[in-house]
């Protein structure tokens, strides 16, 4: 990407296998590339089983103790290599530079600790005096759009509404002054009207503080006009990666197109039945050949089932728009020169 010369986070060829205590193992990520530049916002889209949450957890070094992970490839954050470190060293390297916003704020907040104390937990080593800490807390709560901050700081999570809790979750994530925010389905548990205010808040904070953000979601529409880039994951592989306007207006991968067409639209209704893709997600515990989407793809031919499609620049689109699909490879072979980038979604 021409706008972002130094990637803040760079994931290169990451493959992750998980195995649990029962000895079951699964290849949840295969050869995933992901870069996030400073103050860039990336949407990570996928359905359940796509590996989007595993990717987020691997970057953060947060894996349940009961799972055994094997990872290959590389993850570096601000130039520091993370893969291969112990979980402790991994988190120490990240420090407070990366923080996380969870899907369900009521489960990520401790129900028996006042929210003010929880927000300050991330910062208590730096802020010495009680006065400073109170000022910091008030500032954080005000920055996430909460009014009546005195009352909220003293409240327990159960005394707040869902939207207020998510704002508190965001305040806690901001407390350590991070450079990268990882938001895992931050609005899925919220009502649609609250969802929009939270997304607006995240956008505003991101611009004010020059934060980079990875927004993990299953809903492409949420990213429209909000993220700089979209990465579509399916069965642990990157299907498509490109600037948001291009991915949404000229999706190159059949899976991306299917994702967009299957969702009914409110303002442009189409008659039933809705377009749908047949079949289920591939099993992750069995070795795969070819494109993982091939068994469900209307455009698949024999090569799609046997050979893995290379990541190829999408013809007639902007630089940085790539897809892993043999149809893209064929179209690219017709050699249409690439256009200059059409600009970013945000000024």
């Amino acid at each position: 990407m021409t706008h972002h010369n130094h990637p803040l986070l760079s994931v290169r060829g990451l493959s992750v296998g998980l195995s649990d205590v029962d000895g079951r193992s699964a290849h949840v990520l295969e050869d995933v590339d992901l870069t996030v530049a400073a103050s860039e916002s990336v949407g990570l889209v996928g359905e359940s089983g796509s590996g989007k949450s595993v990717l987020a957890r691997t970057v953060l070094g947060l894996h349940p103790r009961t799972t055994h992970i094997t990872a290959q490839g590389g993850i570096s954050f601000a130039g520091n290599e993370l893969l291969g470190l112990t979980p402790r060293a991994h988190r120490q390297t990240l420090g407070t530079d990366v923080s996380m916003i969870f899907q369900d704020p009521s489960s990520s907040l401790n129900p028996v600790v006042r929210v003010g104390a929880q927000i300050l937990e991330a910062t208590h080593r730096r802020q010495s005096s009680a006065h400073q800490r109170r000022a910091l807390l008030t500032g954080l709560l005000e920055s996430v759009g909460l009014t009546d901050v005195e009352r909220i700081a003293r409240a327990y999570p159960s005394e707040l509404s869902g939207g207020q809790r998510q704002r508190v979750g965001i305040a806690a994530a901001l407390a350590g002054a991070p450079r990268l925010l990882m938001a895992d389905e931050p609005t899925t548990a919220l009502d649609v009207s609250v969802q929009r205010t939270i997304l607006d808040l995240l956008d505003q904070l991101r611009h004010e503080r020059s934060l980079a953000m990875i927004h993990v979601t299953h809903d492409l529409a949420l990213l429209s006009g909000r993220s700089d880039r979209i990465i579509v994951l399916y069965a642990g592989r990157v299907m498509e990666d490109g600037p948001t306007p291009q991915v949404l207006t000229q999706p190159a991968h059949p899976y991306t197109r299917a994702l967009m067409e299957m969702r009914p639209r409110l303002r442009r209704p189409q008659p039933l039945p809705l377009p749908q893709i047949r079949g289920d997600l591939p099993r992750l515990d069995q070795p795969r050949t070819g494109c993982p989407f091939a068994p469900r793809c209307a455009l698949a031919d024999t090569r799609c089932h046997s050979e893995r499609p290379p990541t190829t620049p999408v013809p007639e689109s902007t630089l940085g728009h790539v897809a892993a699909c043999w149809r893209t490879v064929e179209a690219a072979a017709l050699a249409v020169p690439l256009r200059e980038p059409a600009g970013r979604s945000h000024p």
Partner: protein, 288 residues
């Protein structure tokens, strides 16, 4: 473009949707299981095999230490401790099974019905359980046994009565947890009455919790029976029982410790095995 044969809607369940943990059986589990099977077989054989003689006295071999002849040694009447331990185990098994059956059927039944129906039924069941819990256990058992005389059935039933309340509580709380689950409500919408809902929907969901407690109850029953026998309210001599054997050996503890030690170790091993297996089962079948 060639449309390739599509997989039919869902050929195999997704790996992540497997709900039951199928853990491999460990060596310890096998050891416990083997021990319990051998013990039960031995106890049952003591009924039919004339070689296992719990009563035969041999005054030429009193207070013998363990030997190839007498694996656990002999007591002051020259009776073989191994044979007596097996025979005593039989009464423990009968008492334990009787106890747990009463607990599951009566206690579990009361708990499920009270929990599912709620309202007046629940109040009645609750009051009954309070009554049972307020009974002075040991005194009542001693009085009844003095009046009716000791025997498998009396002892088993008496201990069983005290198992009703804990089983009922576990069954009731497990029932409350599933009563408002949507699959139980769905069966009501389909026209199932309380009896059908209880049998097909509630009981299968309550069984794992009750079953896990049954293992604890078995060990409690074995200990209770042993204690009663030890105190002299169990089976009367010469009928052997673990508690009785342990009690008999007390007088010879200094000179012939094996009389007490051998049945004590069997008792401990049994309780340990049952508990370990019970714990393993409850973690393996736990639902997500």
């Amino acid at each position: 473009m060639a449309a390739v044969e599509q997989t039919p809607a869902a050929t195999a369940p997704h790996a992540a949707t497997q709900t039951y943990n199928r853990r491999r059986v460990g060596g310890l589990d096998l050891l416990c299981l083997t021990y319990l099977v051998c013990l039960a077989t031995g106890c049952l054989l003591s009924l039919v095999l004339p070689q296992i003689d719990a009563y035969g006295q041999d005054f030429t071999a009193v207070l013998q230490p363990p030997s190839p002849e007498h694996w656990f040694g002999t007591d002051s009447n020259g009776r073989d401790i191994f044979d007596r331990t097996l025979k005593g185990g039989l009464s423990s098994i009968v008492v334990a099974l009787l106890t747990v059956t009463i607990g599951i059927v009566v206690g579990g039944g009361l708990g499920v019905v009270g929990g599912y129906l709620g309202g007046v039924a629940d109040v009645v069941v609750g009051t009954l359980l309070e009554l049972l819990l307020s009974l002075p256990g040991l005194i009542l058992v001693m009085v009844v046994i003095t009046l009716l005389g000791p025997g498998y059935w009396t002892i088993g039933t008496l201990i069983g009565i005290f198992m009703i309340a804990p089983f009922a509580r576990i069954a009731r709380s497990a029932t409350l947890a599933v009563r408002d689950r949507s699959f139980v409500q769905a069966s009501r919408l389909l026209g199932a009455g309380p009896a059908r809902a209880i049998v097909t929907e509630v009981i299968p969901s309550v069984l794992p919790a009750v079953g896990a407690y049954a293992f604890t109850a078995v060990t409690a029953a074995v200990v209770a029976e042993g204690s009663l026998s030890f105190l002299g309210f169990g089976l009367q001599p010469p009928e052997p029982s673990w508690g009785g054997l342990i009690s008999e050996g007390r007088t010879h503890l200094g000179t012939a410790p094996w009389i007490t030690l051998a049945p004590s170790m069997v008792l401990c091993a049994t309780i340990l095995s049952v508990n370990l297996l019970g714990q393993r089962l409850s973690t393996t079948t736990r639902q997500p």
